[in-house]
């Protein structure tokens, strides 16, 4: 888990993870940002931030907006250098227990970063 999370350092929040999981199941989605927020279940501003993060990381493509179109085509890009690790992580996150484990591991990573370098690294999570 720790190794996987290290490969997917771009995933910083639960919203990033859930948005990626949604796009993993819907790799080519023609939606408005508002609809995306409803499907994923986060406020629009969180989704907008997550979208920008993932696009910058090269995990997501977003077609330029046409005038008069509210919807945009979102395309998951897992063929890049980060793709392999993210894919495995998303496989795990597609199940409830897996998602929970990843979120707990992410919490541990955050708290680890906040503590001194002598502090223990990621919290180990029992994986069924």
């Amino acid at each position: 888990m720790r190794r996987l999370l290290a490969q997917a350092a771009v995933i910083q929040s639960a919203c990033d993870l859930d948005l990626l999981v949604f796009l993993y199941r819907h790799p080519r989605a023609l939606l408005t940002s508002e609809q995306l927020a409803v499907f994923v279940g986060y406020p629009l501003k969180d989704i907008a931030k997550a979208l920008n993060t993932l696009i910058e990381a090269g995990l997501l493509g977003r077609m330029a907006q046409h005038s008069g179109h509210a919807a945009r085509m979102f395309l998951l890009l897992l063929d890049g250098p980060q793709g392999g690790g993210v894919k495995t992580l998303l496989e795990l996150a597609s199940r409830r227990q897996g998602r929970q484990g990843i979120l707990e591991a992410m919490d541990g990573r955050t708290s680890g970063q906040n503590q001194s370098s002598a502090a223990p690294s990621l919290k180990l999570v029992k994986w069924a």
């Binding site: 993993y24 199941r25 819907h26 790799p27 080519r28 989605a29 023609l30 939606l31 408005t32 609809q35 077609m63 046409h66 008069g68 179109h69 509210a70 919807a71 945009r72 085509m73």
Partner: protein, 516 residues
């Protein structure tokens, strides 16, 4: 219509019903209740187009997530991910609202996606409630705008719509039906406690097609298979089948019977052997196919009553080595349990067997089991039998059908409740006759088209290891046992010994051995 103007669906059996395919550019509406198979059909339409006909496609989904579609398709052996990877397929997830807006825009993002891969086909899964209105006229005009958008890109559109008795209008149709060029209705039909799937082409502009309700199945590892309804007209060849070879005869394989039938059955003829269970119909049939094998003619046995192993064992008891003939490719036995026969599927199977195996003789055991399975009273059984007779005649096959007549002693009708005798060329009655304290077996040829036959009842016997033979009318018999010619009224329930003077009136005079 030139073939290139037709879009082949690639769905097994479906293009035959559609006279080769659907006119390119048609908007195809596929309607049916939940679980009918609309999505599977739509995905197969796109998959076959992209993988077999070089026509990339787009799948548009609203409620089902693409990963489930990809997973389910894998179960049929369709690798959608590979098609996506090679730019032959796009699976787009969107909402109805977005799609409606998209197709009203000249620079639609969706159609741009279609253009990028040169898509020729599009499948939209679940267009019900695409228009926000409940008003039929508004729905119709909204749908019209939607289809115009699809046609701008010259896409052949396959649109699945959920329809049940609740969503249909008063006239049993959807508002979208009048705009669509092709309407295909899928159904799940309850039959006793079984459920069968069927489809009907309600309309299809610009082409001819086979009307009526056809059966289809969703087959694991394969996809859809459509089975043309048994009543639908086949090739024109079959209609001309009456002009079969009028002279060639096929030996019956029963010693003594060829003499009674002027040499056997005609090629392409239909023979029914009727009699109660245990009277020897199957024995007669086994000898018929074994004789074929002996003469180098392929024989096919279709059994609903007994499985292959049991048939092989029974044949061995009368000295016939069926295994050897099966191994030699001269005999083929096909068993199908009769409980849940789907008539279109079963008929398709027989058609394929006949076309591939090319038998000269066919034995069907038994007609009465078809009757009890399909319902002897209704049209389906009669239509099935009619189709079977036509198929056999087209392929110049001499077919023998065993038929269980329920009467143990005597016969008051040839085929009981099965009103089929007009379709049959030959009818042989096998009948138990009780004389003194013994059941003896009689055979009467009740009907034989184009044959001058004697309708005299002949005694037949079946011996272990030797099978059936027709006994001569003149027999050396012990005093206490008289040959059949000594009796009158053998097919009635109460045969009587002839008076001495009567014996001279028949051709087959009985000679009392005690007097010779």
């Amino acid at each position: 219509m030139p073939e290139s103007d037709l879009v082949q669906t690639g769905i097994k059996g479906f293009d035959e019903i559609l006279s080769g395919g659907i006119p390119r550019g048609n908007v195809i509406l596929v309607e049916g209740a939940i679980g009918c198979g609309k999505t599977t059909m739509g995905v197969e339409f796109i998959y076959r187009g992209a993988s077999q006909f070089g026509e990339p496609g787009i799948i548009v989904l609203f409620e089902v997530s693409p990963d489930k579609i990809v997973r389910d398709a894998r179960g049929f052996g369709w690798d959608l991910r590979e098609l996506e990877r090679t730019e032959r397929l796009r699976i787009v997830f969107t909402t109805r609202e977005v799609l409606r807006q998209e197709l009203q825009q000249a620079d639609s993002v969706l159609l741009e996606e279609a253009a990028k891969i040169g898509a020729r086909r599009i499948f939209v899964d679940g267009i019900a409630r695409l228009m926000p209105s409940n008003d039929a006229i508004e729905t119709r005009s909204g749908f019209h705008v939607f289809t115009e958008g699809l046609q701008r890109e010259n896409l052949t559109a396959f649109l699945a719509i959920e329809a049940s008795s609740y969503t249909m209008g008063q006239n049993g149709s959807l508002p979208e039906e009048s705009i669509a060029d092709t309407v295909i209705r899928l159904r799940m039909e309850e039959n006793q406690r079984a459920v069968t799937r069927s489809l009907e082409i309600v309309k299809s502009r610009g082409q001819s097609y086979q009307m009526g309700t056809h059966t289809f199945r969703i087959i694991e590892g394969q996809g859809l298979q459509v089975y043309r309804r048994v009543q639908a007209p086949r090739s024109s060849q079959r209609d001309r089948a009456a002009a079969y070879d009028p002279t060639t005869r096929i030996s019956t394989g029963i010693p003594g019977l060829d003499e009674l039938t002027n040499g056997g059955y005609f090629l392409g003829s239909t023979t029914v052997v009727a009699g109660i269970s245990g009277v020897g119909k199957s024995v007669m049939g086994l000898q018929y196919i074994a004789e074929g094998a002996r003469r180098g003619e392929r024989s096919l046995m279709l059994s609903l009553d007994e499985q292959e192993e049991q048939i092989i064992r029974n044949a061995a008891s009368i000295g016939i080595d069926l295994c050897r003939e099966i191994d030699r490719g001269m005999i083929r036995i096909e068993y199908e349990p009769p409980q849940e026969i789907e008539v279109d599927v079963h008929f398709h199977h027989i058609e394929r067997l006949v076309q591939e195996f090319k038998p000269r003789r066919v034995l069907i055991d038994s007609l009465s089991t078809y009757g009890s399975s399909l319902g002897a009273e209704g049209r389906i059984f009669r239509d099935f039998f009619h189709g079977l007779v036509a198929l056999m005649k087209e392929h110049q096959i001499a077919a023998v059908y065993n038929h269980e007549n329920p009467e143990m002693l005597g016969m008051t009708s040839m085929m009981g409740g099965f009103a089929l005798s007009s379709l049959v060329d030959n009818i042989f009655l096998m009948n138990w006759i009780e004389l003194n304290d013994t059941f003896r077996l009689g055979l009467t040829i009740a009907k034989m088209r184009a044959n001058a036959i004697s309708r005299t009842t002949h005694e037949v016997e079946i011996q272990n290891g030797r099978g059936m033979q027709v006994l001569p009318r003149e027999l050396r018999v012990p005093k206490e046992r008289h040959p059949f010619s000594a009796y009158a009224g053998l097919v009635s329930r109460a045969p009587e010994r002839r008076r001495l003077g009567d014996r001279t009136e028949t051709k087959d005079t009985w000679r009392d051995p005690s007097r010779s």
